[in-house]
């Protein structure tokens, strides 16, 4: 068992929870000067923590720590559009892949860094897509104005990755961001589409670490799986209590196992009937199992946002989720049993996992 740390992004800074056994946890923080944090990751290649953030006063930046949170630096150098364009208010997502860093920002765009987050340059705004004229207009942005909410890389090809534009759907590039193709085949929409290729609301896309062809999505209307690297998706909502949710996570070792948190799709957007639960599939979505052993079952109107759930990579993986009311629940046995490991934190936006090499 190696040490596991949780990187907890909140509306009031980053917190880090450390554990040697995944049962007893110690909380540190807040870090990043209590800026609103949208996403936090560990670069597995060197252990550095990167945090996407946006201050209401001082704008967007990526914070970084090479010593698991003991000391911090920040940079927003280069994260800006030309004068006259929409200002960038936040870094909504950070990805470390193939030796580089990528920051997704609102208004939608992707910046890259080749020097460990010291300086950044614009990689793409998906300008070659017809949808660009729509999503660059802030009036068309969903609540939160997160913009480019995720980049998800192909583990075998550094030029191939997905970009998720909040409220517009998934695009894929195979040439490092020069050109893009919509990847939303098979998704539903409950609203009129200007073009059937895009206009979907994909809250979370996760790729199985065990099989890069296997992708799961939790969307505004339905859960989906792809068996062909995202070329097409099949709906797997049947068996879940609703077709709405934000968070999803993949099992690190088993390509058929994934976790989702369905929520009330109306104004509530909390777990159904006040009964907290994570739902797990062991067969790529053919069936679902409700996981609630140890989770509160009375009056637990918990919400979990798109980056609010994660798995670690231990032999028996841990599963973690953080709520918009400041609780963190952890399972050290793939979701079979749960315990509350933190409470009273600020509203949680993201959970990331950092593990000792």
């Amino acid at each position: 068992m190696s040490k596991v740390s949780l990187l907890v992004g909140t509306r009031k800074g980053l917190f880090i929870l450390d554990s040697d056994d995944r049962h007893s946890w110690r909380t540190r923080g807040p870090f990043c000067e209590s800026w609103p944090v949208y996403h936090a990751i560990q670069d597995p290649s060197d252990g550095t923590i990167y945090v996407g953030a946006g201050s209401e006063w001082h704008g967007a930046a990526v914070w970084r720590s090479k010593d698991l949170g003991e000391t911090w630096e920040w940079s927003g150098e280069g994260i800006k559009y030309p004068e006259g364009d929409e200002p960038i208010t936040k870094v909504a997502s950070v990805t470390a892949a193939h030796g580089k860093l990528y920051a997704g920002v609102g208004a939608p765009g992707i910046f890259e860094s080749a020097d460990g987050g010291v300086t950044w340059s614009l990689l793409s705004r998906l300008e070659d897509q017809a949808a660009f004229e729509r999503f660059k207009n802030p009036e068309n942005s969903p609540p939160g104005r997160l913009g480019l909410i995720a980049t998800v890389f192909d583990p075998d090809d550094p030029k191939r990755f997905f970009a998720n534009v909040q409220g517009f759907g998934i695009w894929e590039t195979e040439d490092g961001g020069s050109s893009w193709t919509p990847r939303n085949q098979g998704l539903r929409a409950d609203w009129p589409l200007e073009d059937p290729a895009w206009g979907y609301c994909v809250h979370k896309l996760v790729r199985s670490p065990a099989d890069p062809d296997r992708i799961f999505e939790m969307t505004h209307v339905g859960a989906y799986v792809s068996h062909d690297r995202g070329a097409s998706f099949t709906e797997i909502t049947e068996g879940l209590p609703s077709d709405f949710g934000f968070a999803a996570a993949a099992h690190p070792h088993d390509r058929d196992t994934a976790y989702m948190i369905p929520l009330d799709p109306q104004h509530g957007r909390y777990m159904h009937d006040g009964h907290a639960a994570v739902w797990m599939t062991r067969d790529a979505g053919s069936s679902w199992q409700r996981l609630d052993n140890g989770l509160p079952q009375d009056g637990a109107y918990l919400g979990v946002l798109r980056e609010g759930m994660a798995t670690d990579t231990q032999d028996v993986p841990g599963v973690y989720f953080g709520t918009s009311t400041g609780q963190i629940f952890a399972s050290a046995d793939e979701g079979a049993s749960w315990s509350e490991i933190a409470n009273y934190l600020p509203a949680i936006t993201s959970i990331g996992v950092a593990e000792a090499a």
């Binding site: 000067e33 201050s55 209401e56 006063w57 001082h58 704008g59 920040w74 927003g76 150098e77 800006k80 559009y81 030309p82 004068e83 006259g84 364009d85 200002p87």
Partner: protein
């Protein structure tokens, strides 16, 4: 020299920066440029490409001002991180 008063939220971002800084400048914009020379990147934390950030307010000699407002010799420039909700 203008006595520039800065918000405390800037201090952790720029080691060596203090709440009060004296600068020789003709306008608010000029003052921020002088500060940016001493603390690279500071101006960008107060301004967007199109002007002051939405919750950053400036006052010259206690009067609400903007980037183009002239500074008068021994005056005072307050840069305020305005209330931004809970």
């Amino acid at each position: 020299m203008t006595d520039v008063h800065l918000p405390s939220t800037l201090l952790p971002l720029f080691p060596g920066l203090t709440r009060h800084v004296d600068v020789e400048a003709a306008t608010v914009d000029d003052a921020l440029a002088r500060l940016d020379e001493r603390f690279p990147g500071l101006r960008e934390r107060l301004c967007e490409p199109n002007g002051l950030r939405p919750h950053i307010h400036v006052y010259v000699d206690r009067e609400r001002a903007d980037l183009g407002t002239p500074l008068r010799g021994e005056g005072r420039l307050d840069v305020i991180a305005a209330i931004s909700g809970g």
